[in-house]
């Protein structure tokens, strides 16, 4: 499965469009990580636990999107976008969407 965030897959022609595919995941903060982040808030610097959380969530959302595209018979997803929404105080939704296509 080829993913790009451009209108087409460079070097390949699009043969068929299958429409929008998306994937999302809602992640809650881990209590232990949040406690450590609280300490880190005093001294500043990268919150590695949260960076990891963000990465995992994005990968999860992306793989769900890819599953949907595969189910439609696509072999690529173009114009991929990411969005995040805070659901409640402790949780956030990570959303990935794009257009499923078939390329050469």
């Amino acid at each position: 499965m080829i993913l790009t965030n451009t209108e087409e897959v460079p070097g390949r022609a699009i043969r068929e469009f299958y429409g929008v595919v998306s994937g999302s995941t809602v992640r809650a903060k881990h209590f232990g990580k949040d406690f450590l982040a609280g300490l880190k808030n005093l001294v500043g610097g990268e919150l590695k636990g949260y960076t990891e959380l963000l990465n995992e969530a994005r990968q999860e959302a992306t793989s769900r999107m890819v599953e949907e595209a595969r189910g439609l018979g696509a072999n690529a997803v173009v114009n991929v976008r990411f969005a995040t929404t805070s659901v409640t105080q402790g949780a956030a939704e990570i959303f990935a969407y794009g257009t499923a296509v078939r390329v050469d």
Binding site: T4, T6, V43, G44, G45, E46, L47, Y50, L54
Partner: protein, 151 residues
Amino acid sequence: MDQLLVSAFLLALGFVSGKSIEHFHFQDLAKRERRHRRLLALTTRRVPADWRVEDAMLLTGSVVISLDYWKRFAAGIRQLFGGNVRSFETLFERARREALLRLKEAAAAKGCDALIGVRLESAELVNQGANGKGTAGVELIAFGTGLRVKR
């Protein structure tokens, strides 16, 4: 009185540690940016006509950075008077450069020669308490399409 002492201690701790962490982060950024200087990152989406693309893939880089206690205090004071909130400016700069660098590092690791369609977006996973509670931080995602190019 005790509370005042604790606050003063936390402010001093934030000031010293925040300053040094920031200093080393900027040094580290400059060093890594030099290493990846030749990897071209474009925000445009069209592939330049003379490139022969062999492979394309979606790549990402992200980071979550927090303010220190002193800077959050200073930003709070600044909000009373208006003007440039310096502590947030450097925070955003660090986060943006770090996210872009991680994107470039991901591209280099995959053997890409260039990135097109690069976008920088902020995310909101962490709850940002204006009152200093919660985790006031900046989350940035950089993403783009990495290309293996034959020239």
